[in-house]
Structures are given as structure tokens and as C-alpha cells.
Symmetry: none
Subunit: 413 residues, 2 copies
């Protein structure tokens, strides 16, 4: 069944707040088998909201709005609802008692302004809010369902998951949808498509999307069916095919990240890791340390941004830099080896490259990067050619280093 | 002038991707004086996109779409554009050459699939894409402007900022709008408002917004008038008042960043900088090195994530950590001093803290962070209390360190 999500708030229209609410609602409803047909946003003016609700009700049988239900003057969603549905506001004693009780527990008198929160459009039912004063509002008319939820994320989330979705599922005779995201890295979108396309034929009701980002390309499998077993089965079939074709590039699924996956590999093997970074200047270390508990395997390392620090800390004796340059395979290997020795870690990763915008040469243009790895078994470096955007290059180099480590640990050629 | 932003992609409709693109576009266009009248999103089907573009063109004179311009089958935005504007696709040799060149630099043959990327609707002009194969597409008809940009964030961002906004500003014959953004750091939004509000009265046509983000709070001054001189004058008046009231917290304007401003100060004073990072694990160094040319003043430093590395590299003799703990004023000072000595730099910054989610104690709860500074004149550390979110804490610590340096160099108390 089709749904329109409408998010309301000036902070969304100015770009000051990223609209994470609509992504949350979309994800939960899609997983429950609904289809998000439209998403729209509008600012905090009664006429704008009124127009947006009317348009949404014309084009989708279910409309979920969020935002603008608070007690202050800039919250005007209820005014717009009253206009759209031509209803009066009715006072609900039970809602007010509930709000008063919540303030009493905190030992605070309820501000008078919260009286408004007990007024609902005539004929509306409501979904209770466990943590705030704004209840969810539900109106049905001409076979259409309109739901308005508060914009405070955790309040909206609780009401949606505990109240709204069970309510809609009772109404809906809908189709089941199964979504799987396979996360790849180390291969560009078009090469991945060239590998995959000739090898698969999509069943009806099954879709495959390529979603690129600086760390790699995600493959999203989406299977739809009348039965949830069949949707699961169809998604699993395509997932298995993709794993056979592109397995070595797939590092994880759904919410997995490369930094978490490599961290888990180090943890499982009881190994430690250090880094020696030139052009990335700490970005690889910072990425590794985004993972809570990374101190179990990550020891730190050196930011060897200047050549002097490379020479001092990395036992990359001056001849290497003089002979091959700081951006060279030889220097990357010396950096990794020196870092591993100095930190007594099991693995060391090094990065040295020309991030840009300046500093490129004909032989080694901007984007040329060497990533080194040293372990008890071997020392080597790989050459990469990224683009011309300095900070994208630095991010891509950090992910490429993690991928080099993942493949080394798993012995993937 | 009113704008509609239309984001295209199944991953947005299913909630798998949070639509940060539309927030970025909204923020940049709002700052440039445009008003975002509508925001909408649609999935990757030709008819849906066609309907969404038609609706957008009916209700806004400028429409910015993003997403669905990639080379693969699931990218169908161009098909929808062709239908809406009833144009044929025309081959652009120069676009193809440019894509081929980009692949050649990386030593890779261009996949045949990229041929599509050189096809544009008849009559369209294009905005070049420095990092990807999808150019921005621009069509004008009946006084309306339609722009389609790729959905890959950094590609979209570059084209929007460097190409689209300058183009739209030339077209805009509307009222003159002057926007000035004063960038503050080291003070929370409510404290800043308490300082400013009693001291100023806004003229008509002048607005002031407080825009908080992890690195600080921006003050956005927006002055509107029929004459551009008057708009400039009104903005300048309020800007001067704000500088008088909150000057010491203001590190820059508009596109200035704290990392660029501190870098410029180091450059101007011919000083060098090194870092010693514990909980941030390289994030401060990575932030400093986002600035092209930062190698003129930034030498690098140490990621002292484990205590052993702190002890080895930072001459922070073991007693300091045993006696005061790794998260302490004493350790931060020893780290900064040790780093400055080892790297022979003019300034060294150190960061040690409990980023969370675990590791907090009653005395030093999660978020407790010490930032140290060592120079030829002095060595000291400051205590900070950030929040409970690990990666927000690490980002805030990196900015706080740069601000400590800025105030030290400028001798701001």
C-alpha cells in the first residue's frame, strides 16, 4: 500500500536540520511491506502545511506527517489539520491528566501552555506518547488515513513503531518486501555492473540497485511478493548469486562498515594494528577509532606529514626518499615496516600520496597513492590512482588501506 | 526567489539513505538568498520522476533535482527529463573525451557503459563534474530553470557550489539580499543568545539566525532591500554590532573554517605545528590537513592511542600516567611538550579524553577531555566536558584544540 511521508519544519527547509525522521519512517514502513510513494517537506506556515496535506491525501491512501505538534506558537500543524478536515478542536481530559501526571513525577508544575496539547480535531483518535506531551493524531476520511506525529525523534519513533505500524498493518492487506544490502569496496560501479549484469537475470518482483559512495559501492537487493517467505527466498537467491560473482569485493551486509569489519577481524585473531600516515594525516587512525572498543586492537602510530618526521620516526632512511621520493612504493614499505617495529604491533598500514590540488608530476599525477602493509609474514605496497579532489582522495586512501588489511588477513588475492 | 529541491533515489524512499543532499542544497541556497519553498523525494521510476519534475516546475520557478544520473540501468532521471521537456538526446563529444581522460589518468580503460554519460537533452547546457562521469544538466523553458545534479554527495556539492549557485545568482533579478555568516566557536547557542539578544534591535528587513553545529554556532545575518547598497549597509550594521558583543568567539566569516583560519595564522607568523592525539586518534591532524598547502606549517605528530605509545613517544614518563591517569591535565601537558620537543615544531597541541561510550568514572565521566598546548612561551592544558556521543566528542575535541591555538596566537583571554 502506498504511503506519503510529510515532514514539517522550517529547520528542514533551510537545511539546518537533516531530515532523518523521514528516513526512519520510510525504513520501518518499507520493512513492514508498505511502499513509500512520495516524500515531501514543508515549513512552519499554516497555509503551506494545509496545501501539503491536501496534495498528499490526493496522491496516497496513507499519509504520515511529522513535526509541528509542540505547544509553542511556531507549532501550527494542528491548525492546518483542522482546516483540511474542517473539524473543531475537542478537549480530551484524559490526555491532559496524562501530561499532568508526567510533570508530577518530575516534581514540576505543568506549564499552562500544555493545555493546548489536550485539544484534538473532532473524530480523531490518538496514539499515546510515552515521553512527551504531543500525542499522535489519526484521522480517517473517504478511505484515506492521515497520521500526524511529533517531530522529536525518539517520541516519533516510539509512537510509530509501537502504535502506528501495528494499526496500519491491521488495515493493510499488503505485500511483503525483503531488502538486503551487500557492501563492496575496491571496485568502481561500472566495473561491478560489467561483472554482474551478464551473469544474472532478475526474477519478477526483484530489483538490484548500485549505490556508490567514497568508500565503495553498495548492492541493494529488494524482493517483493505476496508472501514474506517468498520475498525472503527471492532476495536470498539473488544475494547468493551476487556473492558468487563479486564475493571478494563484498566486505559486509546492511549496517556493516569496513572499519568495524576489519576491527572485528583483528579482534578475532587477537592482532594489533598501527598506522603511519602521510597525506591522510590521521584520517585512517581517526576512522579506525570511530569504533567503540577499538583500543583493544588499535595502538596508534605516526602522522608523518613532513619528510623530516618520516625520516625520524619511520627508519625510512633518507636515501629512500632521496632516491625514490616520498610518494613511492619503497617509501610506503619503509613507513609500514618502521611503524610496525617502533610500535611492536602485529600489523602496520602506511599511506603516502599526492592528495592535491598541487604537487603532482607527469609521472605521479595528483591522486597517486601508495599504501603499504607490514606484518610478521610480509611487507609490500600497492599503487592507487584516485581522482583530483584532495579530500575525497584522502578518504578513499583510508578505506583502501583498510581493504588491503582485510584482504591480507583473509588471504584474498 | 523560490526553489524546489527534488531528491531522486529508491534508497531515499526506502529510508536506507538519509537525505543529506537536500539539506546541503537548502543550506547553500538559503545562504545565497533563495527561499526553499518545497522539498520532495521520489524513487527511481521514470513516471514517478516525470510527475515529480512537472509538479515542481508548476509550483517553483527554480527546480534543483539530484540523483539518478549515473551510468547504470537504475539511473533513469535523464529519461524522465527527456519526457518532461519533450527533447531528444544529443551526443556531446567533449563530455566523453573528458570522461575518457579521467579514466586514462588512472590507467584504466573507460567502461563502455559510460558512453551514455555524454548524452544530454537537446538544448541543455551542462555544468562540469570534476570527480565523476555525470555532468550537471540545466534546462530553461518558459522562464523556469531546471537543474539536475548527480546524487553522489561530493560531486553534487562541487557542482552546486562552483557552478549552479553562481549561475542562479546571475539570473536572479529579485530583491537584493545580503547574507553574512559570522562563525563562532567555544560558546553554546543559549549563552550566545543571552549575550546578544538584550543588546540589539533588528531593523525591518533584517534577520538573525543562530545555527549550531558540532564545531560551534554560526550567526547568520540576512538583510533584504530593494537596493543592494541598502541591503549591504543593513547587514554591515548588524555585523558590526555582533562583532562588538561576541568578537572573541568569532573566528571567521562565511566559508571560513577554523582549520583554514588557524592555518593562515601559522603561515602569517611563519610557525609550525605538530599534534599528539589520544582519543581523537588522528582526527585533529586529518582536519588540519584538509587545507591545501597545510604542509607549509603542519609537520604531523603522534597518534598515541595506547598508553605504551604515549610513554614511548611523548616523554610522558610513566609516573605521570600512573599518578594522574592518561586522561589528566598533567598527561595532556606532557604529551604536548613531548611532541613539540620530538618534532622541533613551534606549537604542539595534545588531546586526551574519555570519548565513550565506556571508560567514564564518577570523577571523570564520559566526555571529559584535556587539551594541551606547548609553545616557546608556555605549556598548559584546559579541561572540557563534552557529551556522551563518542564520535561527536572526538570532533568537538578537535575543534576545541584548534580554537585553543587560535586564542593563544592572537592572545585572546
Amino acid at each position: 500500500m502506498d504511503v506519503e511521508i510529510l515532514t514539517i519544519g522550517d529547520e528542514i527547509m533551510t537545511g539546518h536540520t537533516i531530515d532523518a525522521n523521514s528516513a526512519f519512517i520510510a525504513e520501518k514502513l518499507t520493512s513492514a511491506g508498505f511502499r513509500i510513494a512520495y516524500k515531501s517537506s514543508t515549513g512552519d506556515r499554516v497555509e503551506q502545511i494545509e496545501d501539503a496535506i491536501k496534495l498528499a491525501l490526493r496522491r496516497a491512501p496513507i499519509v504520515i506527517a511529522t513535526g509541528g505538534l509542540g505547544p509553542t506558537d511556531d507549532d501550527v500543524t494542528k491548525k492546518a489539520i483542522v482546516k483540511v478536515f474542517k473539524r473543531n478542536l475537542i478537549f480530551h481530559e484524559d490526555i491532559l491528566e496524562d501530561i499532568k501526571r508526567r510533570y508530577a513525577v518530575r516534581g514540576v508544575d505543568m506549564p499552562a501552555i500544555n493545555q493546548n496539547q489536550a485539544l484534538l480535531p473532532q473524530g480523531a483518535t490518538f496514539f499515546p506518547n510515552k515521553s512527551g506531551s504531543a500525542v499522535g493524531i489519526c484521522l480517517t476520511e473517504d478511505g484515506r488515513v492521515f497520521v500526524a506525529l511529533p517531530g522529536v525523534p525518539f517520541e516519533m519513533q516510539q509512537i510509530l513503531v509501537e502504535e502506528v505500524i501495528p494499526y496500519l498493518l491491521k488495515l493493510n492487506q499488503g505485500r511483503a518486501i525483503k531488502v538486503v544490502k551487500l557492501r563492496t569496496t575496491g571496485i568502481v560501479e561500472s566495473k561491478l555492473a560489467e561483472m554482474i549484469k551478464p551473469e544474472i537475470r532478475l526474477e519478477s518482483g526483484v530489483r538490484l540497485a548500485y549505490l556508490p559512495h567514497p568508500g565503495g559501492v553498495d548492492l541493494r537487493v529488494m524482493a517483493e511478493s505476496d508472501s514474506s517467505d517468498e520475498a525472503e527466498e527471492r532476495a536470498a537467491t539473488l544475494t547468493r548469486q551476487l556473492e558468487t560473482i563479486a564475493g571478494k569485493f563484498i566486505f559486509g551486509r546492511d549496517e556493516d562498515t569496513l572499519e568495524a569489519v576489519t576491527g572485528q577481524l583483528l579482534n578475532d585473531n587477537d592482532k594489533s594494528l598501527a598506522v603511519a600516515e602521510s597525506c591522510t594525516a590521521g584520517q585512517l587512525g581517526a576512522l579506525i577509532a570511530t569504533i567503540p572498543g577499538s583500543s583493544a586492537y588499535f595502538v596508534g602510530g605516526v602522522i608523518a606529514y613532513s619528510n623530516q618526521i618520516k625520516i625520524n620516526h619511520l627508519r625510512g632512511n633518507p636515501e629512500i626518499i632521496e632516491k625514490h621520493g616520498a610518494v613511492s612504493e619503497e617509501c610506503a614499505i619503509a613507513m609500514a615496516k618502521g611503524c610496525r617495529d617502533a610500535t611492536e604491533s602485529d600489523y602496520a598500514l602506511s599511506i603516502t600520496g599526492t592528495a592535491g590540488p598541487d604537487g603532482g608530476t607527469e609521472e605521479k599525477p595528483v591522486g597517486t597513492t601508495y599504501i603499504g602493509l607490514a606484518s610478521a609474514h610480509s611487507e609490500y605496497a600497492r599503487e592507487f590512482h584516485f581522482g583530483t579532489n584532495r579530500n575525497v582522495n584522502r578518504l578513499r586512501a583510508s578505506y583502501a588501506a583498510l581493504e588491503l588489511l582485510r584482504r591480507d588477513i583473509l588471504d584474498i588475492q
